[in-house]
Every structure is written in C-alpha cells, then in structure tokens.
C-alpha cells in the first residue's frame, strides 16, 4: 500500500486541527484547544494510507518546528479567512517548508468560510492561484470543501 505523509501548516488557531478532525473523524468543536507539538492521524483514501501530521501553529512564542516536516510528501497551507494576517503569512510559512523539504506538492485552505467577517477578496485568492496552488475556501464547521481539500493533496502527491 502507498503511504503518504502530509503536514498541516499555518498560523495558530486557523483550524488545522479542526479540518483534520472533520476529515478523519467527522467531528467539530467550537472550543479552541491549541495543539502542542504534533498529532498524527491516519486515514485510508482508496489505495493510499494518508498520514496527516497536525502540527502546532506558528505563534508569538514559537516558529514552526521544521523537524516535523521531514519526510512529508505534501503540505496543506491553512489560513483563517477572517484573519487577514494569517493569509498574508502563508508566503513566509511556505518558505520555511521549501527550505526544509523543497517544492513539495501543496494546497491552500482558506478556512472558516462559514463566518460573517470573511475578509479575503478575489484578488488575493487569484494571487495565491497564480503561484500554482489549488485554493479551497473551507469550513471545518460545516464540512464545506474539506473532502476536496484532502483528496486534492493526495492526488497531487501521487503525480
């Protein structure tokens, strides 16, 4: 069986854990419990065993620990569509990834699409797409685009 390691990366509290849990266990919680270090979950997608590394978000105390990225076949860059700075920091986080493991396949999740105070405009989305990334406006809460997001990254790691 093919096994693929994929890392969830992004600023703190953007919904990396929520997206993973929605996809793997179909659960969602409003309560914010920050991830310490990394939590590893696996899920079977067709002939592939997907191993998702849900990594602690970058925060004011600590940068992303790049050690967790080693061996990853792809990354999911996650941002919070209601917090513009988390979208802006995608570039920087991508640089960290590239330095550590090179140009691995990548998809972008602009999460919390269910919320009112969404503040990402189309120009921003277009500029992300221009970098060759697939961009998904997801909601871990409603489950919108969550399946597509993970299926896409699996598909890209197999190319």
């Amino acid at each position: 069986m093919i096994k693929k390691k994929v890392c969830m990366v992004g600023e703190f509290s953007v919904g990396k854990t929520s997206l993973t849990q929605k996809f793997v266990n179909n659960v969602f919680s409003e309560t914010y419990l920050t991830t310490i270090g990394v939590k590893i979950d696996t899920v079977q997608i067709e002939d592939t065993k997907l191993v998702i590394w849900d990594i602690a978000g970058r925060d004011s105390l600590s940068p992303i620990n790049a050690s967790y990225l080693v061996g990853a076949a792809g990354v999911v860059l996650v941002a919070d569509g209601t917090r513009l700075q988390t979208v802006e920091s995608i570039s920087e986080i991508w640089s960290t990834v590239r330095e550590k493991i090179g140009e691995v396949p990548c998809v972008v999740a602009l999460n919390k699409a269910d919320l009112e105070d969404w503040c990402v405009d189309n120009t921003t989305i277009e500029s992300l797409r221009d970098r060759g990334w697939d961009v998904f406006e997801t909601s871990a809460k409603d489950g919108v685009m969550v399946e597509s997001l993970f299926h896409k990254i699996v598909e890209k790691t197999k190319e």
Partner: protein, 487 residues
C-alpha cells in the same frame, strides 16, 4: 527499513509490539517518509494512546536508532502557557479589528455629517436663491400693474397715448408672469425628479414655430445684456416633428438662458440641425466658462457655480439633462474657465413631413359653432375663458359648481363640458360621477391647477376625455375640443 530489535516498553505508549524483520512504517506511523540517515528530534509527539512523547532518530552505521521518552509533564506546562498566549493574542487581534471597525464607522459618520451639512447649506442657499428669483418678476408685476391702474384713473386729455403705454406695461407683466410660471414649473419638476413623475407627451409640432418661439422669448434677454444672439435654423425647418414641445422648449430656454446669463460680452450662437429623426442643438457662448471644479458639480441639483454672482434655482441643468435623456438624447458640455462654453444635445423627434397644423385646426373649428358648458368657481378665470372662447365662435354657458353643471346638462344639449376639479358644493369629480350615472355622453375636459399625474389618472378612470392644467391656453382647449369632436 526493517526492525532489528525493539524494547518492550513501546507498548506503554500505545505502539504495537514490533517483530524483528518487520517493515517499520507499516507499524509506526511517524516513521513514514524517514530513512536510515535521518537525524531528527521530534519533541512533543502525541502517541497512539494520547501520551506526549519525544522522539529522536539517531543514525549509527547502517542502522537508525529511535529513542522515545515520556514528556507528559513538560507538555502540560507548555500547553497551559501556549493556550494562554494564543488566546491572549486572539483577543488582541479581535480588539484591533474592533478598533479599526469603530474608526471606519466614525469616519463614515463624519463623512455623512459633512454631506448633510453641505446639503443643508445648498438647500438654504437654494431657498434664498429661489426667493430672490421670485421677487424679481413679482416686483415687476406689481410695479407695472400699478402703473396701468394709475393710467386707467386718468381722464380726458391725460388719457391720450396711454393705450400704447399700457400695452407695453401689460407685455412686461405678461413676460414676468411667464417667467414666474417657468420658475414654479422648474420647482415642481424638481420634486418629480426623484419620483419618476415626469411624463412626456409628444405631439406634432412645427419645427420652425418651436425655434421662433424660443428665439422670441430669449432675444429680449440678450438685448438687455447687449450681446449678440444668433439663431441658425436647420435647412429643413418646415418639417413637422413629433415631440413634447413644452418640455423641449423648457430645455432650450434653460440652456440658452444660461448661456446668455453667463455671457457679459460677445455672443451666444444657437445652431439647430435636424436629420434622421434627430434634432441636434449646439449652443456656443463667449461667456465666463466653467472651471474644472465646477464642471464636476454642475449637474448636481441646487449647485450654483461659485463666485459668478449669478443666481438661479440651480435646478435647470439637472432637470434639463433628465428630460433630454427621457427624449432619447444626451447632453454634453465643453468648457474652460474664461474660454466660453459649448453645450450640445440631441433629442429624438420623428419626422412627420410638412403638415400645416395651425390653419388646419383653425378652419375646422371656425366652420361650426360650438355650445360649451363651463363649470368653474373662480370668476376671473371663468370670465377670461368666456372672453377667449367667444373669439372662436363658441357659446359658453357658465356655472359655478358641479351640482349646477349636472342640472344644466339635464336641461340643455351641450357639445362639450369643461370642468374645474376644485369647486364648492360639488367637486368636478363628483359631478363627472353623477353625469356618468345619469348616462350623459358629452365629452368632459377636466381642468385643474395640479399637474400631478395621480389626478390625471383619476380623471382617466372616471372616463373624462381630456385633462388640462391651469393656466389653460385657449389654443389648447380648441385643439383638444377639435380632436374630441371629430372622433
């Protein structure tokens, strides 16, 4: 990578027991993607049974050693710290966002405030402008009527030559009244601008007549200012065109009137062209021109160009452009401060060929005598209308309210009824209802001081044949009567 050996305590962390020779990443998820040479520290990994472990990969020779240790205690401390820090950061972000929103809202409010102040300033200056505009013709009307009255009191020899004099005075009164009327119409139209109430009523018109009319009204204005006034009619000016003449006249008087108003020296030239069912007008003046700043605001209602010392209602252009658009045309203004102004516009007006409208009507009506019932409570208006209609060989029976009108209809056979709406005892509408009830088929022309469309609708619903707005022009009555009676 395959397992060489393993300690048994890895089961304590929830990992399966490993058999030598087993493929490592089949059994341990975090080993997927690693190889023998990977040297790595993975702090704080959640183990399968939920413990917090630290993992170290240490290559040695051909082998890779994987060290696992329990770090639950430090994890707990770290969790508390990180949770608090992140929650705090989120609060700060939230606060910043709220502050930004607050600022945006207050800026918006400020802007709204400024707009309101500007609007109220414009309204005030508009009101003072309007009162001023009204005062001028009113003063002249009062002054000239006084002069006429004085003349009328003179007797004998004194009276010689006074008739000419009175004529001049009365023409002045008439001019002022017309001007006053157009001011009022402008004001009413402005009220309609927002409510889409302007309705066009195109009818056949002689192009030449229209142009002559406008010239006649405006020439005295240019003469008082001592500027040249050129009107160039189209080569095909004999054409009869389908257009709402009163609206078109309003536009022309507004635009040409403005050109004259803002020109103190030189000339105003109006050039008419008519082709392909379109009337094109260009108005070129050598006046003060329009600054770029004013150009942007000139189409706003109530706007008065600053520093020109000219006063008007400031409504003309707004209404004019609106009417031109309704007539399927467009208005363009080209100007520079000090360089004069060129105003161009076109309106749709279908060509009906060369009909002679005026004499056709006249002959038709003149040949037969008409019997008209006039219901009008205002004695002055009634007398005026009777006098004017007499001239057209029309017999008028006059009553002063609706009830008397109904009575009159029952005892005499009229050709036509002209009915005022607002009358004591029984209003015009009530009378029409009553006439309908008793089965009268005499056409009714309703006449009212209100030009509001709702009134016209009411009249149409009641089956009235036509609706005229005061002050009613006798020509209008004749034309309407002619159309009604030839049906």
């Amino acid at each position: 990578m395959r397992v060489c050996e393993s300690s048994s305590n890895i089961k304590d962390y929830g990992f399966p027991e490993l058999q030598p020779g087993q493929v490592i990443d089949d059994a341990i998820d975090f080993m997927i993607g690693m190889d023998v040479n990977t040297k790595l520290d993975l702090p704080f990994v959640a183990s399968p049974n939920g413990m917090s472990i630290s993992v170290s990969l240490v290559p040695c020779g051909d082998n890779l050693t994987v060290l696992i240790s329990d770090v639950s205690d430090t994890t707990e401390q770290r969790r508390k710290l990180q949770q608090a820090a992140n929650e705090n950061e989120l609060l700060v972000e939230r606060q910043k966002k709220l502050m930004a929103e607050l600022e945006r809202a207050s800026r918006k409010l400020e802007q709204k405030n400024r707009q309101l102040e500007e609007a109220s300033r414009l309204q005030t200056s508009f009101l003072s402008g309007v009162s001023h505009e009204f005062r001028t013709p009113l003063t002249s009307i009062i002054g000239y009527t006084n002069l006429v009255l004085n003349n009328l009191q003179k007797t004998g020899d004194e009276q010689k030559g006074l008739a000419d004099c009175n004529n001049d005075y009365l023409s002045a009164v008439q001019r002022s009244s017309k001007h006053l009327m157009s001011l009022v119409e402008n004001l009413l139209d402005h009220g309609k601008l927002d409510s889409d109430e302007i309705v066009l009523k195109p009818k056949p018109n002689s192009l030449k007549q229209l142009i002559d009319d406008v010239e006649l009204v405006l020439r005295p204005l240019s003469e008082t200012k001592g500027i040249e006034f050129n009107v160039i009619p189209p080569y095909n000016e004999t054409a009869t065109v389908m257009v709402d003449d009163s609206r078109l006249r309003q536009c022309l008087i507004n635009l040409i009137g403005n050109a004259i108003k803002f020109t103190d020296q030189g000339s105003v030239t109006v050039d008419f062209n008519y082709a392909n069912d379109t009337l094109q007008v260009s108005i070129l003046d050598t006046g003060i021109g329009i600054s770029e700043e004013d150009m942007n605001k000139i189409r706003l209602p109530f706007y008065q160009a600053s520093g020109t010392g000219k006063i008007g209602t400031g409504l003309g252009l707004t209404i004019t452009e609106r009417i031109i658009n309704m007539m399927g045309g467009a208005l363009d203004i080209f100007s520079e401060l000090g360089e004069g102004t060129l105003v161009k516009f076109n309106v749709h007006a279908s060509d009906l060929g060369s009909l002679d409208l005026d004499s056709a009507t006249r002959e038709l009506i003149k040949t037969k005598s008409l019997d008209i019932l006039l219901a009008e409570d205002d004695p002055f208006i009634a007398d005026l209308m009777i006098l004017m209609l007499k001239d057209w060989n029309i017999d008028v029976t006059h009553v002063v309210n609706g009830a008397l009108a109904v009575e009159a209809v029952q005892s005499h056979n009229f050709d036509l009824i002209i009915m005022d709406i607002h009358m004591p005892v029984m209003s015009g509408y009530e009378a029409v209802l009553e006439l309908n009830r008793i089965g009268s088929t005499i056409p009714v022309i309703v006449m009212s001081a209100s030009a509001v469309e709702a009134d016209q609708k009411r009249a149409a619903e009641l089956g009235c044949s036509a609706y005229l707005t005061k002050p009613v022009d006798v020509q209008e009555i004749i034309e309407t009567a002619d159309i009604l009676l030839s049906q």
